[in-house]
């Protein structure tokens, strides 16, 4: 299973991130997870929230440059080596990880988000190794 992630382009300008988060708050959007990647010039805000389609529309109406992607969310057991085990599986299946970040679900448990080059191949490899990938419903 995959879940939806919204990416928002944030150019490196004073107050731009504050503006974006204020806009999200003003529209009563509750964020489940957030990650920021940045270079000297720009950043990408990555969001997981309950109603991704609707939130994406709202952000676009606000003039934000967004993209909706399917990403893998994997439940992570609270013990050493879990992440390494997942990455080993993906590496063996020759799936590249573009980026990854973690968050805690309010339903309990920790998840890691994986943005990979090939969702289907990653899914198949994780399934074969008995690693569960979460659906939107599992998280919310």
């Amino acid at each position: 299973m995959t879940i939806k992630q919204i990416s928002v382009y944030i150019e490196n300008r004073k107050g731009r991130l504050a503006e974006a988060t204020r806009y999200i708050a003003d529209h009563q959007i509750n964020l489940k997870a957030l990650s920021i990647a940045d270079s000297q010039d720009f950043g990408i805000l990555r969001l997981i929230c309950e109603n991704p389609q609707e939130t994406n529309e709202i952000l676009r109406e606000g003039g934000y440059l967004t993209r909706l992607n399917n990403v893998l969310a994997v439940s992570i057991a609270d013990k050493p080596g879990t992440l390494a085990g997942i990455l080993d599986v993906l590496a063996a299946a020759e799936v590249d990880v573009e980026y990854t970040y973690a968050f805690l679900s309010s339903k309990g448990g920790a998840y890691m988000i994986f943005r990979v080059t090939d969702n289907a191949a990653a899914q198949a490899a994780l399934d074969a190794s008995g690693i569960h990938t979460a659906s939107q419903e599992d998280i919310f």
Partner: protein, 436 residues
């Protein structure tokens, strides 16, 4: 032997004699162009002027203007006045076909150009005793070729360094005791900074003078360069259309540039009406090549705004002087010595799939030009990975570099984040203080 002038008979000729010489040359030149350049003949016919109407410089105003768009329409051979078999050289500006200027030279044209540069070198105190380091770019660019030739004519030991590899420049400067440096003012400033970074001072080099042109520079920059290199810095003016550097040059008075008016007849016009303005007025500089054979432009509009003055100069030269250009009557910018039109950048953006919403910002940081281009990303161009966007920025910067010859810093920004204007869009912000 130290000479004050390279060609005293010309450089100190009385204004009356210069005018008589110009008149004689103009009459011949108009006939040469009319007979050999169909493009200009058509312009003259349209204006109802024939060579018989031109008796001297007083009739110059009757001739039609040439502008950059004529060069584009006539590219590449349309303004050529000699068979290619008699041409020995081309020089060219950077830029695309439409904006590129390709200038042709016979041996006579190369000689007169090099003599102009030689006059500039001698005006800085140069002689056959000097070691002249030419750090302008060599190749199609006129800077290297012109000063290289001028240096030979003066008899200097010439170091054809071309630009770049700054530490090596300084190494040669020290090992071979260079006394004159020729390059763009921004490169001279950079050499000065590098000298300091290497732990050296002006006392460690033998430079006494520098001839710097191909881009606008201020008195403040002159002062910085003079201090950092321990030299006297001289300005030089020219453009590929007229031959290259050496059309005008500064003397020891460092107060305006003497125009080599035995070869280049200057006028100042109102850029809007084309009307010729009296001496001392500020307006657009127009040049007529009086004796170039292969590429003889008549009344070529340079788009540079400046003032002409003919007054007694302390150096003893009688040649008319032009002020440093004070601006442009078009939107051309000179960035790191390269001519840049915003439309060139726009062409690349559209070709690379971007919308024409962009902002060009030019600045000068530590005496070096910066070029920043902000471009709006289109929704379908946005990817959630940093790598994809960085690749986009690099690819666009490379495409712009291919077009202009200089590297920009590209910034991709959100849609609609570049201010829209009600009237004419503001596409360019030039923060450099180029004119005093």
């Amino acid at each position: 032997m130290l000479k004050r002038y390279f060609q005293p008979e010309i450089e100190t000729m009385s204004p009356e004699d210069i005018k008589a010489l110009q008149s004689k040359l103009l009459v011949q030149q108009v006939r040469h162009v009319y007979e050999n350049v169909a493009y200009y003949r058509a312009k003259m016919d349209e204006a109802g002027v024939t060579p018989d109407d031109i008796h001297g410089v007083e009739d110059l105003y009757k001739l039609p203007f040439l502008s950059k768009s004529d060069l584009r329409d006539a590219y590449p051979y349309g303004l050529l006045a000699k068979p290619l078999s008699e041409c020995v050289r081309i020089q060219s500006t950077s830029g695309t076909t439409g904006r590129r200027v390709v200038s042709f030279y016979t041996q006579h044209d190369v000689d007169l150009w090099e003599e102009c540069c030689a006059r500039a070198i001698v005006a800085t105190g140069g002689s056959s005793e000097d070691v002249c380091q030419v750090a302008y770019g060599y190749g199609l660019f006129t800077g290297g070729a012109g000063l290289n030739g001028g240096s030979h004519k003066v008899g200097c030991l010439t170091l054809p360094m071309s630009s770049g590899n700054t530490e090596r420049q300084i190494q040669f400067m020290r090992d071979l005791h260079s006394t004159i440096l020729c390059c763009t003012p921004s490169y001279a400033a950079y050499i000065g900074e590098t000298l300091k970074d290497m732990g050296l001072t002006p006392d460690d080099i033998d430079l006494k003078a520098g001839i710097f042109g191909a881009e606008p520079w201020t008195e403040e920059m002159r002062h910085d360069i003079e201090k950092s290199l321990g030299i006297k810095a001289y300005d030089i003016y020219g453009l590929t259309e007229t031959s290259g550097p050496g059309v005008a040059f500064e003397c020891e008075a460092q107060d305006g540039m003497h125009i080599n008016e035995d070869h280049f007849l200057a006028e100042i016009i109102d850029p809007d009406t084309g009307e010729v303005l009296p001496e001392g007025s500020k307006g657009e500089l127009v040049f007529t090549s009086l004796d170039k054979e292969a590429f003889p432009l008549l009344r070529y509009r340079t788009r540079d705004i400046c003032v002409l003055h003919r007054e007694k100069c302390s150096c003893g030269r009688t040649l008319i002087k032009m002020s440093k250009p004070m601006g442009r009557s078009d939107d051309m910018m000179i960035i790191r010595g390269v001519n840049v039109f915003p439309s060139q950048i726009e062409t690349v953006l559209l070709k690379e799939g971007y919308a024409a919403n962009y902002l060009i910002e030019v600045d000068r940081v530590h005496n070096s030009d910066t070029l920043d281009i902000s471009v709006e990303l289109l929704p379908d161009q946005f990817s959630d990975t940093m790598r994809d966007i960085e690749i986009r920025e690099k690819k666009l910067a490379a495409a712009i570099k291919t077009m202009l010859g200089i590297s920009p810093k590209v910034h991709l920004v959100s849609p609609k984040s570049i201010a829209r204007s009600e009237g004419k869009a503001v596409r360019v912000i030039d923060k450099r203080k180029l004119h005093d």
